[in-house]
């Protein structure tokens, strides 16, 4: 069984899912001491997508059987999407399972006139499954 999962990201706006090309997407992982490991920095293409990122994940066995596990059966990472006209969006707690592709859609909110994406940031977190 593979020991990596894939992360794909698509950045868009509105319910019509208009793609946002030229946005900067950053994938990070928390390391020890409160630091970040940088996994990928890319610009989105004309479809608002980046090249998928391979990320190491724990063995599949951990998630297919119940019982107390010392470590969660998935790896975590954070995805940031930045573009000058939109609120900086940070998605925490993105789960990576081995052999599985994770899709993180980034739906961006416009900035009002005079605001910059450095001033306004929206952080959304994901909690693990209650299994």
């Amino acid at each position: 069984m593979a020991n990596t999962g894939r992360l794909s990201v698509r950045v868009y706006i509105t319910k019509a899912e208009l793609p946002l090309p030229g946005a900067t997407v950053v994938v990070t992982q928390n390391a020890a001491n409160g630091k970040y490991n940088l996994l990928s920095v890319q610009m989105t293409d004309s479809s608002g997508m980046i090249r998928p990122v391979e990320i190491a994940a724990p063995e599949a066995g951990n998630s297919t059987m119940p019982g107390e596990q010392p470590d969660p059966p998935f790896a975590l990472c954070s995805v940031w999407a930045e573009h000058p006209d939109y609120v900086l969006l940070q998605a925490d707690g993105v789960q990576i399972f081995p052999g599985v592709e994770t899709m993180q859609d980034m739906e961006m909110l416009p900035l009002s006139e005079g605001q910059s994406s450095l001033q306004r940031r929206y952080v959304q977190g994901t909690t693990p499954q209650s299994l």
Binding site: S8, R10, I13, T14, K15, A16, E17, L18, P19, P21, G22, T24, M43, D45, S46, S47, M49, A60, S63, T64, P66, G67, P73, F74, P84, D85, A91, G93, V94, Q95, F97, P98, G99, V100, E101, T102, M103, Q104, D105, E107, L109, P110, L111, S112, E113, Q124, T126, T127, Q129, S130, L131
Partner: protein, 414 residues
């Protein structure tokens, strides 16, 4: 007594907390809701039969809430909550697992019910380790799947033998239901025209999807290439065949794109002067000021699924109040459902930003020779993406510039 056939709602409104606790209401498409809940409740590494069984339980539970109008009948303005204590786990904006996404796209309008009954089964479930219940055990379903049971056998094990599977329930507001059998290279007919028209419209926003010319109802290599690219972008199996999953993804997206276009067209009938604050507006009012307010809220709701959808009819009714409240809560304004100057100015400021972004970005698609006269001759000669006239003009292009480098994109010129 007339029997109401259960339908799949096009969108579902989820309350982000217990029913009586004030919280945001998030409106998402029904397939996206199911994908979100399934990704929040189970692990994607489970056996396919277990995943499928859990998804059917999730769908049926949600459809039961919708069909019985469980919350609206009690005076609430949402259809389901995001809490496991009352309903099922939903996390706004979370990541989705591709294998779960693909299963949901295939079965989002299937559900289980008791034989002899019309309503979808209120299929309760629990994890089976820290909690047990009179319904599906999530870990139990994984164990049964590992022993070789299929999804219906697993569901019968927990819900009894007298349940049956309903497939292809009608989807609300979706006039074009999936025309079995799948459309593929060599197919001809009206459904192929529908596919080609929808793809062409979507490809106006997604230039990576090739245009299909002419769109005459013959599924040729061009059409197949366009379908494949569409599938690649939207996480469907890229086989170039329009089966149920691809069909509904196309339709949902097409409806979304057309709704936005129609909204923008409607906006062109307003004169600038109509956006001046018309005086305090509240429930019971009607007229031009209300219509402009509703239009601005409708545009903002396109961007933010926490804003309640609103009709632009010039009548300030309970729906409009709800929309104003959802905006005020998200903007740190006094949540009283009344539009005074502070609320109006805030809405107008946000609307202006959203409107300008839509008009500017939409003007760049499609790029055809018959398009609007270019802003400058530079745009014509570059022949491709041009950032002048947009706020990205001064943005670092993402790679260092070196002596002797030339590019099409004006970065060197800056």
């Amino acid at each position: 007594m007339p029997v109401v056939i259960p339908y799949v709602p096009r969108t579902i409104t989820v309350h982000m907390g217990p029913p009586d606790q004030p919280a945001e209401n998030v409106t998402v498409t029904f397939p996206d809701y199911v994908k979100n809940v399934a990704s929040s409740e189970i692990y994607p590494t489970w056996e396919p039969a277990a995943i499928r069984a859990n998804i059917l339980a999730i769908i049926s539970f949600a459809l039961n809430r919708v069909y019985t109008e469980f919350y609206p009948s009690r005076g609430y303005d949402f259809q389901i909550t995001a809490t496991t204590a009352y309903d099922q786990k939903f996390i706004r904006g979370r990541n989705i697992f591709e294998n779960i996404s693909q299963v949901v796209d295939e079965i989002f309008n299937n559900y289980i019910r008791r034989q002899g009954y019309v309503e979808p089964l209120s299929a309760k479930f629990c994890n089976g380790t820290t909690t047990t219940c009179d319904g599906l055990s999530q870990w139990g379903s994984q164990s049964l799947a590992q022993q070789g049971l299929n999804s219906m056998e697993i569901l019968r094990h927990y819900y009894g033998n007298n349940i049956e599977l309903v497939v292809n329930a009608p989807v609300q507001d979706i006039v074009e239901s999936y025309p079995d059998p799948p459309l593929r290279l060599g197919s001809v007919g009206q459904e192929v025209v529908v596919v080609q028209v929808m793809l062409n419209r979507i490809s106006q926003n997604y230039p990576a999807i090739p245009k299909i010319r002419p769109a005459q109802g013959s599924y040729d290599e061009n059409t197949q290439a366009a379908v494949r690219e569409f599938q690649r972008i939207f996480n469907l199996t890229p086989d170039g065949v329009v089966g149920k999953a691809t069909w509904y993804k196309l339709v949902y997206l097409y409806v979304g794109v057309v709704q936005l276009s129609e909204l923008l067209s409607q906006g062109q009938t307003f004169y600038n002067v109509q956006f001046v604050f018309p005086g305090v507006l509240q429930e019971g009012d009607s007229g031009n000021g209300v219509q402009v307010l509703q239009y601005m809220l409708a545009i903002l709701a396109q961007f933010d699924n926490r804003l309640s959808p609103v009709q632009i009819d010039g009548q300030f009714g309970p729906n409009t109040t709800r929309a104003v409240l959802s905006y005020q809560r998200g903007s740190n304004l006094a949540a009283d459902g009344v539009v005074g100057r502070a609320t109006w100015d805030s809405i107008y400021r946000d609307f202006l930003a959203a409107d300008q972004l839509l008009k500017r970005d939409l003007e760049r698609f499609p790029r055809t020779a018959a398009q609007v006269v270019p802003a400058s001759t530079l745009e014509v000669s570059s022949g491709g993406e041009d950032y002048s006239g947009t706020s990205r003009f001064g943005q670092y292009p993402g790679r260092p510039l070196r002596l002797g480098q030339a590019d099409q994109r004006k970065a060197v010129q800056v």
